[in-house]
Symmetry: D3
């Protein structure tokens, strides 16, 4: 692998991966619409709007692998979701198709299945139940990945990310927590297995509290190592439990399910 | 029911339904971007582009029920698909939400699951496998319907239409044929059951050759009456069989699976 | 078959079966706690309380087959349910065990699975979700039948009766209607198949609107013939539709789910 | 189709098909180890032992389609089963591979799944549970068909024949009866669908009493028309019911399950 | 949590939990029909018969959580089972409903599914197959829990306890062993998760030999820590293996399946 | 256990087990068609061709347990496969039936399911998809084991061996690797559980990369301990990855799927 592209590299996840994926390729190409700071010796920085097809085409050219974290990652008004998560994905897949079909890690989200209840256990064949426009846009992206695989052989790891941060900060995150180390090991594995295909993988650590079953993708040989249980006692003491009928306790998508449609004139 | 809206009423399916659904409401409101001809006494004609949110809002106001046939119904370049099938659906659901949430019949398509093989049998919980941008746009639409149902209670009958025409004209259509009478009876049923929910229904007649299983939606009480077998002998004699490895014989989506991505500069 | 016992023969279903099952055996033994009127030439009438073990033992002695319709068939206070549906079933199975284990038709009820939603499709392996004390007592009875089959070989047809009356009188009954003719043909079949076992059968006609799937018991060869659709138009015109969120529209058990626990001092 | 081969044409099923399949091709080639009588104008008769590879190669050469009924069709000693059902199948598939891979109808048997109980419902994905050496040989044949399809694209309709005769003569056959007309229509369909694949089809009529579910092969569009119910009353009156724990009542394979291993010195 | 009620506290399991659950609440209320000995400082002792509704009402008043171990825990004559396990459960749930619906741990049993074979693997959706009147009474209790949850929101952890003792003493217990530590951690978890619902949990340790699958309740985040393997060698040496067709080897319920119905006049 | 028979003891696996299973019985009886070298004090050596029924009968007489590793273990021409893997198995099962039905470990193979893709996850109920004549012969052997269990109670552990060698030497073997230690522990367990039955077990270690799910046979209490991950880095550095569409990457059976039918005149 000569050049690894990370989109959305100025965001929270993107910045984390900028630090942690440098060993995968001699050159990291980093893109974002926001400022990316100073380039390290091994970095190429590209300011780029994902809804600009020509710019995305340039961005992808010459890359051997893509970690696609770019786009809006929480609920927003439709015009924002559309430009970043709909147009952005269309542009990315067309660019990849034209430039040798490098493998893609697609950052999907638990919000693609957010209206399933926490008492349900889902695997890769579960029906989608998005919990907002953001979730719908992720179903769209998964659907693009599926189609480009069936039609062209473009391989993608679809990762339905839970909550990727250093430690869980809500009770719901005891189930959704995805340690940065586990995300990194998943990305490494997706780039090194001989055949990736187009699997749907739930991005969560090996948490005792669990709603998701990755056994269908055991052919990848990826096994998360962390467990949110080590934070449980601290969390129980410091964070009040939500009411037993709060959305954060009922639905897998948590508080996103309580959100409405954002009006176009909101900031 | 006072006023029934049919979108895409100048199209093939739309025109068919304009003739056949008049008994459902005193007033038919018909919309299309194309010319709709002269209005009958019970008809309101509205020329309207689905990607115009304000126009769609006006269109939906005052309607008790919607048969949404509007949008592009075959593969096309992305900009066309996006404006009609992505923007159009977003506008329709927002308008419906604001105007009393009339029930919607959403014309989805077998192309949302087109890459499944014809030797597979699918029911409502099958994973989507779209066979092109058109198919992806239908997955998007289904996903919007699902989200508006979970979040707001908006009820939609998602109909994955096979081949709705007077008679099958290819061998594949022995499985996908959906007689206009059967489509009409499904629409009637969807508007009259006490609780519709947001079911996924395969739009096909009671054909002997079948890839689809609607038993999960038997709570609707809809049963197709026609069977493509009455056309089988004629078809065998007049239409050459495709090769045993032709896309039309391998995949449920048929020749759509052999299509590429349409370039933006195509007409 | 020499003597067929029908319990609860003075009740609605019991009286219906008294008229319709006479051809199955030379002697009908009929029991009820209520008055059974005058005996026909082929009838033996026994006034008997099901919670009286000795009386039930006498009742069952000499019978080759049992249609057990006795007991409380709607929600009631616990003491009533217990005496008729708990004690009654214990007494019946003990008596049967002691007297040659005649086959039993056990009138269970849709209220054993009443909290499943009408959008779900259940077969014989569905989990029970009773909708009241009456429903719980039916789960108890099914459980007794299962245990006596596994332990002693006592064969029972467990029939989860929907709504057995001449015609549906609510919209929900379009799904639950069980024509008397179809019930009779099921009883005939259960008594004549070489091996009955202990199957769970949903007692419903071949209605277009359907929540239940009897395919697992197709080894019995029973097929209902009637369809509630013939009453649909009349029902639509004469009976107002319930609200889309009424219990009668949401749950398979209908209005029973809206009932509370009956206090012991109610009449 | 120019030439249709029927093996085992002097046997019971073979003779039946000799009469009924003549319309499928101008030339019927008929083979058997036994005497085939006089040839009709459209018939080619070949006396041939299936364990003779060269003879089978000659037999298959020039044929466009094969109905393979040859071999031993009841339990026998191993040396007989091996020569006809193991060697015979190996020879047939090799010959077919070398001669253009004509479609094959492979007469498998319910005895490949004979130890499943009659209270179970099986579809094409059920595990095999053969009930004797004969049943094991049928599993072998199915396995050869599967391998030749996966490896070479050789298409086979695997038909697990129930009881193909004019009318059921035991109570068990109410479930297993396969009318000759229905078998003929299945063969016709298997030869005319554009893509056959390698489906497992239970060869039974549309009997009310049923243990088998062909819904997974509905892509073939074959529907049996006959129902053993028309013989039920006659059977009930003329054939004594077996005991409720007789093998013919407990297992799908019936009395075959009660048979032992036949010694090599049996005649 | 202010006050935790443990019923059946003088029994084997009850006494064990009296020692081990004191940390969960400032006050332990302990009840039994038998003598409970002297009260510790943090204990309230209540002698109470579970079939006495008024007494149970008093017992439950003021409690925030209930571990219901009371009732008969082995096979017995019906009158005993009824008073303790049927009446007792009805009284408990009514009392709980009237007093704020404290969470309940309901001690169900593997004997609710005892007639499943040991070669089967069961999860929470398995059908019940009770192995005696005791098992039937546990199905009844589970059914009450389910109904009170669906109707009133009363939350219960239904624990199908295997064999809760310090070490396995039969070969069957290699699969059913439930270490006291693991039971305690399950109770702790059931009382602290934000939403409990009404799950069915198999009460067994993390034994290598296993018939039960708790993956559907992984949302609780409970993971047993012990494994019966540490006792395997000792058991193999000291306890003779049962015959390969002994009930203790064939059925999950073990020797209970070999028991009959206990007569009412037994002591 | 007095005498353990290992067939195929001169082969690779056989020799390995000769060293490792001596602790299971005072006498090891070892057989092969090839030379077995010198006998140790506890060994009985028998040169024997498996297609010789009388010799196999003698071989099995007096044995309490059998590890059947004999026969051809890679693809070969039919006559070789037939004599060793078809005739050999028939002879072995007949001999076992006549001599007290000692438990058998039957070395089946992943090539019985070799045409399943590596992206599929199989359990014991997966359909067989053999990848050559060798695979077909293993399906035959499994089928014999199943029939002898259902008919006579002969118990067999069917082990679908992956790749049993000291370390994986191809990328595919990261999934199929079966450490000798794990195979030994499985054999020990199969001989000591009170009831073995006739389970299908995938013979693989606890590898992170996995296509197989043994949860249905958790009643055996066998758990593999090794994981191929310890060899992954070394393998990545020393063995070139196959192309993403190589058979070794696509199919579970690997390169066997690319093999043809071996002609009879091959050496």
């Amino acid at each position: 692998m000569q050049r690894l592209l990370i989109t959305g590299a100025a965001g929270f996840l993107g910045n984390m991966m900028r630090q942690r994926l440098a060993h995968l390729a001699p050159i990291l190409r980093l893109s974002d619409v926001a400022d990316l700071g100073a380039a390290a010796a091994n970095e190429e920085l590209v300011q780029c709007n994902l809804d600009d097809a020509a710019a995305v085409d340039d961005l992808v050219a010459g890359c051997d692998a893509i970690v696609h974290l770019g786009g809006r990652s929480i609920e927003d008004k439709w015009s924002v979701i559309r430009q970043s998560n709909i147009e952005g994905v269309v542009n990315l897949y067309e660019a990849a198709r034209k430039h040798g079909m490098p493998r893609i890690i697609f950052a999907s989200s638990n919000h693609a299945i957010g209206y399933h209840k926490q008492t349900e256990r889902l695997d890769a064949s579960a029906t989608t139940r998005p919990d907002g426009l953001y979730g719908v846009s992720k179903v769209f992206g998964e659907s693009m990945a599926s189609m480009y695989y069936d039609k062209f052989g473009q391989q993608t790891a679809i990762v339905r990310i839970g909550s990727c941060l250093d430690a869980p900060v809500t009770h719901r995150m005891l189930a959704t927590w995805f340690s940065p180390d586990d995300f990194v090991s998943l990305i490494e594995r997706a780039f090194t297995v001989p055949h990736l295909g187009c699997p749907i993988i739930y991005g969560a650590s090996d948490n005792s509290t669990s709603w998701w079953d990755n056994s269908q993708t055991a052919y990848l040989g990826w096994q998360p190592k962390d467990n949110s249980d080590k934070f449980r006692d601290h969390l129980m003491k410091t964070v009040p439990q939500p009411a037993p009928d709060a959305p954060d306790v009922i639905y897998q998508g948590g508080v996103f399910t309580a959100d409405g449609i954002h009006p176009e004139d909101e900031d």
